[in-house]
Symmetry: C2
Subunit: 320 residues, 2 copies
């Protein structure tokens, strides 16, 4: 089989061929020579799927929640995808613990395409790489696309911004400490889920979220609901799916969805620009390993990064 | 008083003037016209202070731990600094909840310079902005500099990499879920602290960390200790400070410290380059508000970001 033509690959993808889908994602992740060409062909086909972001601290049980939600969508006959964004090792360059074991039923179901993404090794940043993979899945008519992220860093916020609907997963017992979650993730949330709600402290957690919500200003008038689930027992999943759909419908009645899509487009443009410009600057200005000599000189305080960067930027000419 | 000359400001900073220190940081954070000039003058004065990274999930009590550690260093007569990196609001552009209330004794002590940094509004990224502030505090002979971060995103990992010694704060009761912390933060840790160790589950947590450590390869032979603290009761703080010092001394006997400083220099160079090149590209190629029109066209799938970026990069000429 010849997969070398973007056209071929795209046709196979749009026909639902899972191997071609996996292959395209790998090519794009590895920045193979035709990655940009592929993405350029894919981009006009995107913007149709519903993108659902699921964020939660480690231990919130969001993976189980995502698995259950996926099973629910499968029962609705949807052909969907899960992207699990995982931090990975700065020493080994890969996740030490490997992918967690997904529910068996999902792992063998071709109707759920599952992809893990590690934090490391994405030149343009994790948000940029995730946006690429979301685009490919969107073009492959995977709908919905669940994007699962850990943590509250800027990367995660940027990833969550790709989503049409964002779900933040909390657990009881963090009540006193919910301030620490701060606004970064809290304000981006369309829906709050208190998972593991068989544990004590549900009411405290609910009050804490409500008091945070009372501080946040939502320009679109959506009031984020606070739902309760026990993912491991499949409780509350249908209500969550319905709430996601309501939030999605609401977003279409306001300008928020189009604003989010504009934000996502802006972010995509900027991160690509950063990545490509820096790559070209390095290739041109520091051929070979010269950059490491500069790094040495900076580390030893013989020069400073500000001077070096100003030199490069001063010497750069932009045209069209 | 005239603060307009970088030289004046730097002299005041190196003499320990707190107002000048705060002013310099604000200028650099706000990217005032002389920010680069200031940073360039400051850079050769840096590399002397001990930088200690403290990372932990929301609710791990790391703020209390940092406060107690700061009090300990103050009792040793050190003139130090705390940088608290906080996620902030994507809607309002600032932390909704504001800075948490620090221990009163620290807040009024000129020997502890405290600065909060929000996630948003740093063109070159949070890690880049934090590196700038660390440099200024380093030049001001604040030693040690405690950098406190939340979460496990790439931003946090980049910030932690600035540190000479990294401390990861855990709490009992997350035993089953420690896998979720994954390698990103786990492997970068020089010291693990189990805080709130009066809670049940300390042994489980300790075992979990030990089993993770057994998977990680440390090229420098340092075996990260697992310490136990109750920060709110000031227990275990002195042992932690001693362990930090031991890790620091050890790092000087191996190549790891110089490698970390090289990594920090490389990261600094790259993030500045990204920031400056993109700023110049936007100013040159998209004067005025034209970029928003492009963003609109991308959001509406009339064009794609890959084509736009390729056009800009193809038109860019680098020189020296």
């Amino acid at each position: 089989m010849d997969f070398s033509e973007p056209g071929d690959l795209l046709e196979r993808i749009s026909k639902g061929d899972v191997r071609s889908l996996a292959r395209t994602i790998t090519r794009v992740e590895n920045r193979s020579a035709d990655a940009t060409s592929l993405l350029r062909h894919i981009y006009p086909l995107t913007g149709k799927s519903q993108i659902i972001g699921i964020t939660g601290s480690p231990g919130s049980g969001k993976s189980s929640l995502v698995d259950r939600l996926a099973s629910y969508y499968r029962r609705q006959g949807k052909t969907m995808a899960i992207i699990a964004v995982d931090p990975s090792s700065p020493f080994s360059g890969g996740a030490v613990l490997g992918d967690r074991i997904r529910m068996n039923a999902l792992a063998t179901d071709p109707g759920v395409f599952i992809r893990s993404m590690a934090t490391r090794g994405h030149l343009g940043g994790l948000a940029s790489a995730t946006a690429d993979v979301v685009s490919i899945l969107d073009a492959a008519a995977r709908d919905p696309i669940l994007v699962e992220t850990v943590g509250v860093g800027q990367d995660e916020i940027d990833i969550v911004k790709l989503a049409d609907v964002s779900v933040v997963v909390l657990v009881p017992g963090m009540g006193d400490d919910i301030q620490a979650l701060k606004a970064g993730i809290m304000e981006i949330a369309d829906i709050f889920v208190i998972n593991k709600c068989d544990r004590p402290g549900v009411e405290n957690m609910e009050r804490a979220v409500q008091s945070l919500l009372s501080l946040a200003h939502r320009p679109d008038g959506w009031v984020p609901p606070i739902l309760k689930t026990i993912a491991t027992e499949d409780q509350g999943i249908e209500a969550l799916a319905e709430s996601i759909q309501q939030s999605f419908e609401h977003s279409k009645t306001t300008s928020l969805r189009s604003e989010r899509r504009r934000d996502a487009a802006r972010q995509r443009l900027m991160s690509l620009l950063r990545e490509q410009l820096v790559r070209k600057a390095i290739e041109t200005v520091f051929p070979g390993s010269e950059i490491e000599k500069l790094v040495d000189r900076i580390a030893q305080r013989e020069t400073d990064p500000y001077t070096i960067v100003e030199e490069i930027v001063r010497g750069t000419r932009f045209g069209k």
